[in-house]
């Protein structure tokens, strides 16, 4: 087990009488890439700012290794932050921005120069040292912010939704780059985001939060495959969440039928939430399986089709490379591995089926082409492109 580098114990934080965090506990291990994931207002940024020292908790303590740092001001903590809007110093050029922290520490100019150039090389900005901040694009500013923070050789780097302002392509590149930098330097990263895909693809550990409370901590695969409750299941990826009844160990009744499953220990005849991921469902002939329904909407998503199926009033989402047409009757096939059983929680019932979703889709569908299938895979993409081109003329 790695050392615990940061631990938060019973942290309580309130703003204007409204409690953001209450009795919050979290341990972060040395060298890990930890992501705090949750919807806006869930308290994830508050956690980050508490670690950075910008927020003094009303109660509870922050520890750095075993040393209590609750009362230590930000400038004396061995952590650095990358801010949402970069927060570069507009009156300084790239070089002086990166050198800022080292100058405060009284490093020699020779050492500073060497480090600045090493940092610029790491973030692929060699040759930009004497540019003004105003001359840089958003992505470049972000790289400077990363270089500025890392030049300080922090033990922990805090990142507050640093990629939020970038466009999709740049975001993907920066995600890969941040991950690479984290591996290279071995610095503990605490990353805040509301983007579940970002969290899954970058992190060693994901902390899913809602309402100031940790819903689940685990590796990305754990979080995705074994969500602890309906909130996590819904927030991370798409999921069909159904009411079920645990008959006995390894058997659950859901959608009117008994299914074998891999879950146990819930007790006999216990109401549970059942999660079935849309990509796990196999489309088969309607009479060859237990569940069958009518297709109400089909959307082409590139790698797969998103199919909404009405099964006795409950609308399922299926992601499949196989195409169906609206109105088709199809069968849904599940293996025990596809069924994930969760305890009932306060979130049970808050996330229904895809009926509102499919209504919207339905409208979009009627406007579109009559034949939603086209040709599967790449050929459909080119077809769409040609149509776009024709519009321009």
């Amino acid at each position: 087990m790695k050392d615990t580098i940061i631990s938060l114990k019973d942290i309580t934080v309130s703003y204007d009488g409204e409690q953001i965090l209450g009795g919050f506990n979290l341990e972060i291990h040395d060298g890990e890439f930890v992501t705090l994931l949750g919807p806006s207002g869930c308290g994830k940024t508050t956690v980050l700012r508490t670690i950075a020292g910008f927020i003094r908790p009303d109660a509870g303590d922050v520890f750095f290794y075993d040393q209590k740092i609750t009362a230590l001001p930000p400038h004396r903590r061995e952590v650095n932050t990358i801010f949402q809007k970069y927060a570069l110093f507009p009156h300084l050029n790239v070089y002086n921005n990166i050198a800022f922290g080292m100058r405060l520490k009284g490093r020699s100019e020779k050492e500073i120069k060497e480090t600045v150039h090493r940092m610029l090389a790491m973030v692929n900005l060699t040759g930009y040292a004497h540019r003004g901040i105003g001359q840089l694009s958003g992505g470049q500013q972000q790289r400077v912010a990363i270089a500025r923070a890392l030049a300080n050789e922090p033990k922990v780097l805090l990142l507050d939704e640093p990629l939020g302002a970038l466009d999709l392509k740049l975001r993907k590149d920066m995600q890969a780059e941040l991950k690479k930098i984290q591996k290279q330097t071995g610095i503990t990263f605490v990353f805040v985001t509301h983007d579940q895909e970002e969290a899954l693809s970058m992190s060693d550990v994901v902390v899913v939060m809602d309402g100031g409370v940790i819903q689940q901590i685990g590796s990305p695969t754990d979080i995705y495959n074994e969500p602890k409750n309906a909130f996590v299941a819904d927030f991370i990826g798409e999921s069909n969440i159904l009411d079920g009844m645990m008959q006995e160990d390894y058997s659950v009744r859901v959608a009117g039928h008994n299914f074998r499953c891999l879950d146990s220990g819930f007790g006999k005849n216990t109401p549970v939430d059942v999660v079935i991921r849309p990509e796990d469902i196999k489309v088969v002939e309607p009479d060859s399986t237990l569940i069958a329904g009518d297709v109400t909407a089909v959307t082409f998503k590139g790698v797969h089709y998103e199919i909404i199926v009405d099964v006795a009033g409950f609308k399922w989402m299926i992601q499949s490379t196989q195409c169906c047409r609206v109105g088709d009757r199809i069968g849904l096939s599940l293996t025990p591995d596809d069924i994930h059983v969760m305890k009932k929680s306060e979130y049970s019932g808050m996330y229904g089926d895809y009926s509102t979703f499919s209504d919207e889709m339905g409208e979009a569908e009627t406007e579109g082409e009559g034949d939603s299938c086209g040709k599967v895979n790449a050929s459909s993409g080119t077809w769409a492109e040609e149509e776009g081109g024709a519009d321009e003329i």
Binding site: P74, V79, T81, F83, A87, H91, F100, L104, G132, Q135
Partner: protein, 275 residues
């Protein structure tokens, strides 16, 4: 599109030509001609004999600007730190004296500072010795600071409130204590405000004539008074007056040129009103 904007700007162009460019040319014309209208350099050359007036004006203007900056910066900084509602009230209080007539305000200082004025009256009542305050250069500086300090505070305040909170936090995060944050981030980032504040106080302070006339007595003749005398006073000589104005303008331009050198930040931040 182009002709549209030309049409829209026409009234301004006409206004500026008639009321700014033409008068400037007239000043230039008068400065280089004598009473009969023939070309001469005599006016410009004779400005030299008033060099002590120029020096005094620039000196007192500079002192008043420095005092305004020293008093105004902390106040602007404090205002920018309080919550929004208080900020509005404090800004209003800064501007409040400006709603009163300039002459009246200066006149009020006269009655306060006079040898038999309110302050001396109060000192005498307390059994303290009287102080001679009116008709000193100190009184002139006081009048300048009092009248022009809002022009220092407002641009400073506007620049200071625009400094992003996260930039301050970034500096703290990188290891700056509050003194270092102030010196290395707040002060450099407020330079555009400092420059426009200094400009807006220094320029009117150097060329004022009412303040020196009312609070400085005869011994503190400033350039403004000198020009005033050439046009409206005893020594009627518009040609010399124009020459003095022209030289003053050149000196101020040089001063501003030097000032702007300090703002070498490259990309000028909006917020500071650069003149």
């Amino acid at each position: 599109m182009k002709s549209d904007s030309k049409l829209l700007s026409a009234p301004y162009t006409v206004w500026m030509t008639v009321f700014i460019v033409l008068p400037m040319l007239l000043v230039g014309y008068f400065a280089f001609t004598d009473k009969s209208g023939s070309f001469t350099l005599e006016n410009i050359l004779s400005v030299g004999q008033y060099s002590n007036v120029f020096l005094r004006s620039i000196w007192l203007g500079a002192v008043a600007t420095a005092v305004s900056l020293a008093l105004g910066y902390p106040l602007a900084y404090i205002i920018s730190k309080v919550d929004a509602r208080r900020q509005n009230i404090m800004v209003m209080l800064v501007m409040l004296p400006m709603w009163m007539n300039f002459l009246l305000r200066t006149y009020a200082w006269m009655t306060l500072l006079e040898d038999n004025g309110l302050i001396n009256g109060a000192l005498a009542a307390l059994g303290l010795p009287r102080a001679h305050m009116i008709n000193t250069s100190g009184a002139v500086v006081l009048g300048m600071v009092y009248n022009y300090i809002p022009y220092m505070i407002l641009p400073l305040y506007s620049v200071l409130t625009k400094i992003d909170r996260s930039v301050i936090e970034a500096a703290q995060d990188l290891g700056a204590n509050s003194r270092e944050v102030f010196l290395k981030v707040v002060v450099p980032m407020s330079m555009p405000g400092v420059i426009s504040g200094v400009t807006m106080v220094f320029v009117p302070a150097v060329s004022t004539f009412i303040i020196s006339k009312m609070l400085g007595g005869g011994g503190n003749l400033l350039i403004g008074d000198l020009i005033d005398m050439q046009f409206l006073g005893s020594a009627y000589n518009p040609n010399l007056g124009s020459a003095v104005s022209l030289v003053l303008m050149v000196i101020i331009l040089i001063c501003m040129g030097i000032m702007n050198q300090f703002d070498d930040g490259g990309d000028t931040e909006e917020g500071g009103i650069l003149i």
